[in-house]
């Protein structure tokens, strides 16, 4: 299922005009607050009627329907559970108003770990629990697509870690397009299969997440401090000294122990500012993770520095270096070099989204 969105809407102080396509998987609308992201998904849900809207789900128009006939599962930032109903009542609300038995209730309760909460009321739930119930309620409305408006923004790190795996599971198990609004890049890097960057009511970039995150031209749009590449890799072995060896295709990386059998795929995120470059393989260095790379291109990023796009066995890696270093090393496209990776963030359950730094 593919969702196509073409919108134009005049606000008193700015104009929203976007044209984007969300393939199956999780499409992240990324941008600063006030850039119009929430407006876009509210328009998809029918909660806002834009001046012009064409919204097609697999070619079927949605834009002329009232919200209750659009079949969207909307997970709001503030959960919006019905306070007068129990968790069970909230989960089965959509089925009850359709006068039929809820489909998949047991499966979704199990998927989201809601069984112990069913008899409680929203007032007695923690923020993370509330958000899980909200996700379950949206799924149980038998939606044709899912909308999520910063569902993690109001939660602390521990609660985020509690929800993230559930959203990943939805992304991987449902064959529905998920439209996910966020302005937090680590979250986006971990979840998104497609990214659309929204700036002041316009879409300034769109593409597959791995490609967009590794492209120095779009990195500046995503925020220089957060620029970084996504690598696909496989767990190679669990080492005796507590490290896990991961194979990237261009050499091994060692990470603090992560659970998983050899052969299991993992998604790694390596921030551009955590990658150093050397012309020769450095010796006597505490860093474990040194990979041979080839310089693909150089992009001036700001006054002091540049982003260097590197080829790592067919995958893309980004390094943030100063102009002075570019001069000193004489970096040019096509040149071979070594990337010293100071820290790697995992994008997979079992390990939290934070950076991991095995430094010998």
């Amino acid at each position: 299922m593919t969702l196509e969105i073409r919108l134009a809407h005049h606000f008193p102080d700015f104009r929203l005009e976007v044209d984007l396509t969300a393939p199956p998987g999780l499409t992240c609308l990324f941008g600063r607050s006030g850039s119009g992201k929430t407006t876009i998904i509210n328009a998809v849900a029918g909660l806002l009627r834009p001046d012009q809207a064409t919204i097609l789900l697999d070619g079927q128009p949605l834009h002329h329907l009232p919200p209750h006939r659009r079949g969207v599962g909307y997970v709001f930032q503030d959960a919006r559970l019905f306070p007068h109903l129990t968790v069970h009542g909230n989960l089965t609300y959509a089925a009850r108003i359709r006068r039929r038995a809820p489909r998949d209730l047991d499966r979704i309760v199990a998927l989201l770990g809601l069984a112990p909460l069913l008899d409680r009321r929203p007032g007695a739930l923690s923020g993370g629990e509330r958000q899980r119930v909200a996700i379950g309620r949206a799924l149980l409305s038998e939606p044709r697509l899912i909308l999520m408006d910063e569902p993690l923004a109001a939660l602390d790190e521990a609660r985020k870690a509690e929800i993230l795996p559930h959203i990943e599971a939805l992304r991987d198990e449902l064959r529905l397009p998920i439209l996910y609004v966020s302005h937090a890049l680590p979250e986006v890097a971990r979840l998104a299969t497609t990214i659309a960057v929204i700036e002041a009511g316009r879409m300034v970039a769109q593409g597959p997440a791995a490609q967009l995150l590794s492209d120095p031209a779009t990195a500046a749009l995503l925020g220089l401090a957060d620029a970084g590449a996504i690598l696909s890799a496989r767990i190679a072995a669990q080492e005796a000294d507590g490290l896990t060896r991961v194979e990237t295709g261009a050499g091994p990386l060692w990470l603090p122990r992560l659970s998983g059998a050899p052969g299991q795929p993992v998604r790694l995120r390596i921030a551009a500012q955590d990658v150093m470059l050397a012309l020769d393989r450095p010796l006597g260095l505490s860093a474990l993770n040194i990979l041979p790379v080839r310089v693909l291109s150089l992009h001036p990023a700001d006054a002091a520095g540049a982003l260097v796009q590197l080829d790592l066995g067919g995958q893309s890696l980004l390094a943030r270096v100063t102009h002075r270093s570019v001069q000193a090393l004489g970096l040019v496209p096509g040149q071979g070099a070594f990337a010293i990776v100071k820290s790697v963030a995992m994008a997979r359950d079992g390990v939290e989204g934070g950076p991991q730094s095995p430094q010998g």
């Binding site: 209750h68 006939r69 659009r70 919006r80 019905f82 007068h84 609300y93 959509a94 009321r121």
Partner: protein, 232 residues
């Protein structure tokens, strides 16, 4: 201790209960609609409607009663067609007392319900719509349960006000024992006759008891409903 009451006193009490109950129940649907309109809709005449609803609170009750008499009396511009076409009249009937009580208590009822509606987060209603509920279903399954404490409070407030209504009632439907003599007008009548004081005192005690009962009922119900809704 309650002194023994003459039959007119009991008659006045049961009539008052009947009048107040009907006044409250009959005005509740219109009260809900008006409260909803004032809380949620923006339309030309919004301020006028608001003023009109509150008018009986501000006007001297006797004036309200007189206006009711002019409108609903047998020669009134509403009363005449009602009488000519349907043979229905409010003047000097218990139904007229109920009408007067309803008009006088309407602002209190609307106010309580309006506050409850304004306290409902419209975003919850949006959430219900995204889950597939059309507007009337949203209202029944989300809005109504959430404003129920306000409706109960408004209804009981209106009932209590109706029990005590004097000025508009006596002006509109007079003070006919067994027909339009309500609790307050009966107390007034007993005070006008020699030896009527003990009956007046007895009715006063009954009034206090009814008021307390209504208050306790309202508190208890609202608390239970509010606790249910707050999700505890």
């Amino acid at each position: 201790m309650i002194p023994s009451l003459p039959p007119e006193a009991w008659q006045a009490l049961t009539l008052s209960l009947k009048v107040s109950l009907w006044a409250t129940l009959a005005s509740l649907p219109l009260g809900l609609l008006t409260a909803h309109a004032l809380a949620r809709w923006r339309f030309p005449g919004h301020g006028l409607l608001n003023g009109l609803v509150h008018l009986p609170l501000i006007l001297p009750p006797v004036v309200t009663g007189y206006l009711l008499l002019l409108a609903f009396g047998r020669q009134g511009w509403i009363g005449a067609p009602l009488w000519d076409w349907f043979g229905v009249t409010f003047a000097f009937r218990w139904t007229g007392a109920a009408l007067a009580a309803a008009v006088m208590s309407f602002p209190l009822m609307v106010r309580a319900i309006r506050l409850a509606i304004e306290a409902v987060d419209p975003r919850l209603e949006q959430a219900a719509a995204t889950l597939g509920a059309p507007a009337p279903v949203v209202w029944l399954t989300v809005t109504l349960p959430l404003i129920l404490p306000g409706i109960i409070a408004g209804a009981i407030l209106a009932f209590a006000k109706a029990m005590g209504e004097f000025g508009a009632t006596i002006t509109f439907v007079a003070n006919i024992p067994g027909q339009t003599q309500t609790l307050p007008t009966a107390i007034y009548s007993f005070l006008q006759i020699p030896d009527g004081e003990s009956a007046a005192w007895g009715l006063a005690l009954v009034s206090v008891a009814v008021a307390f009962l209504a208050l306790a009922l309202s508190e208890g119900l609202s608390r239970r409903v509010a606790a249910r809704i707050a999700g505890r």
